[in-house]
Symmetry: C2
Subunit: 337 residues, 2 copies
């Protein structure tokens, strides 16, 4: 991995750390309009492609059968904070298929949102699978199994009908040969896909181009759920929720672990996929903010992106002591392509 | 920053992410016996040099005046977890100089140790400055001020007598011109120092070479406190504490923020300084484990370093799905120099 420097971390006047990565911006026909770094290298998109993984939930009719609206569909695509509304929605999704959180196979961790985690502890509660940031996705998978009339148990395994349907959708939308899977943090198969193809998949999700009519309709419904329910995608203080809110209808965005972030820009018909080589979350957001600022210029963009485009680093007394920022020349490189 | 790749993050058979960095191993005379990457670049050592920053506390006589033993001296050099013994020791240090936690100027954050943080919340408590991972260091600074007979207030400012004494010690021990400071996370001055000099400082700390007799004696006492009280340096589940325990008396080690880790190896008379370019904590530990394995080979080293040298990545159901590991050739590069 020898991708170019994209982000620097300044403390005072010095650069303390720096992040490298690759950026692919691709149109719905699969043409790369921006290629920074090696966009043909295979990358695990992780949670960034949850929207694609939930296409079968909608296409199979299961989402309708269980009465899912935008909130449930958004949560099924989320990496949520484990805040009360996230947890309640995941429980409701499971209940609609007469299932419970004991059917979840996603492991578990304390709520990502500190206030939610502390409130749970203060109330004498314990974190479990329902608080896992992937519990909405898993609830969607269980409902897909039930809708397909198959036993949900083992739905995280590559050979389960649920995962077969999901990997078929992922291969179709990204146009990539998926190869053998590794395992994601929530135990489902994780496929490494060239960054170029991931971006292409996002261009397809927001345009419907190159998809069957039923798949394009499902994609449009899922994208609409992101736009209608930004909180359900992530939660309080999170980049995805902030961008979905500030650019409602204009930026379809989702982060993934290990420095991945993807977006679809409906008005331009473009998909964006970013991978920070070192897996840093903090850098992916700075790069995506730079991409949005170049592709969707304007006053509203600048206001919304100020916080994320050059995030301040504070000491623990609240004084600004540094910042993250795109390297000089990144905006020019994004414009030049 | 174009340092070489040092660590890769594997998921299944694929490399998902990777980390670059620099390694300096320097003897007490200042000769670099290993130089990987740019060891002349200035790096903020952050918390790694807390031992050097506490030399004035011992040399001034303040540590004796307030009755500090190994536990207090170790905590003064720590980035602790905020566990009950850490917090109680910081409070005791302050009380010995008739001060309280309201005199701390370090900001604050919830205890780093999740169990300690949850226990605090469950008991209806609130985190404060005393739980800050730097509270022991700040308690030491306040005691230094009191021992010097100066008003502690403002002790985090570069012009305060406490910081003047500390920066003089840092310049002396590292042999570096410190230049203008930035600000650390706990609001004290942060100086960027060439990695080579930081390693040199650690060689001096464990040998006393090139130091005045009183400074060498203070260094020896502080190094001894690390070896006597590994828990006080960090805490439960932490790399520094584990290595100090497993290699008691043989590896004087301390991590710093933004991918820094340093060590002194008394039996070899060497200092080690590592900076991961991207600031990743997870990578610094893999590199340091590789360094220790090469420099201090043997059965006990292998057993202790197994967990840290190639740490497993687990899914949230506890299955191993990947690992961090040194890049092929790192051990050879460390041996070749």
């Amino acid at each position: 991995m020898s991708d170019p420097l994209l982000v620097e971390v300044a403390r005072g006047r010095a650069v303390e750390s720096a992040h490298r990565g690759a950026v692919a911006i691709v149109d719905a026909a699969g043409r790369a309009v921006v290629a920074i770094g090696d966009i043909d290298r295979r990358v695990f998109p992780r949670s960034a492609v949850k929207s694609i993984q939930q296409l079968p939930l909608v296409e199979s009719g299961a989402a309708d059968r269980y009465g899912f609206g935008n909130a449930e569909l958004a949560l099924a695509c989320s990496s949520h904070n484990g805040e009360p509304r996230h947890v309640a929605t995941a429980r409701r999704m499971l209940a609609s298929a007469r299932r419970t959180e004991t059917d979840l196979e996603c492991g578990g961790h304390p709520p990502t949102d500190r206030a939610a985690a502390d409130a749970l502890v203060a109330a004498g509660g314990h974190w479990g699978r329902i608080h896992d940031n992937c519990s909405g996705k898993h609830a969607g998978f269980i409902c897909l199994a039930c809708g397909m009339g198959v036993e949900p148990r083992g739905y995280v395994k590559p050979e389960h009908p649920v995962q077969r349907a999901i990997s078929a959708a992922l291969a179709d939308v990204t146009g990539a040969d998926l190869g053998e899977p590794a395992v994601d943090g929530c135990s489902i198969p994780a496929y490494a896909i060239p960054l170029r193809n991931i971006a292409h998949g996002f261009a397809r999700m927001v345009t419907g181009e190159g998809m069957s009519p039923s798949r394009a309709k499902a994609a449009s419904r899922i994208v609409g759920a992101y736009f209608a329910e930004p909180f359900m995608i992530a939660g309080t203080g999170r980049f995805d929720t902030a961008i979905l809110t500030a650019f409602r209808g204009r930026v379809f965005i989702k982060e993934g672990a290990e420095g991945v972030i993807c977006a679809g820009l409906p008005e331009l018909g473009l998909g964006v996929a970013i991978k920070c080589d070192d897996g840093a979350s903090r850098a992916r957001e700075v790069v995506m903010a730079a991409v949005i600022e170049v592709l969707l210029p304007g006053e509203s963009a600048r206001a919304a992106l100020g916080v994320y485009g050059r995030p301040a680093i504070f000491d623990r007394n609240g004084a600004k002591v540094g910042e993250l920022r795109p390297v000089e020349g990144l905006a020019a490189a994004l414009r030049a392509s």
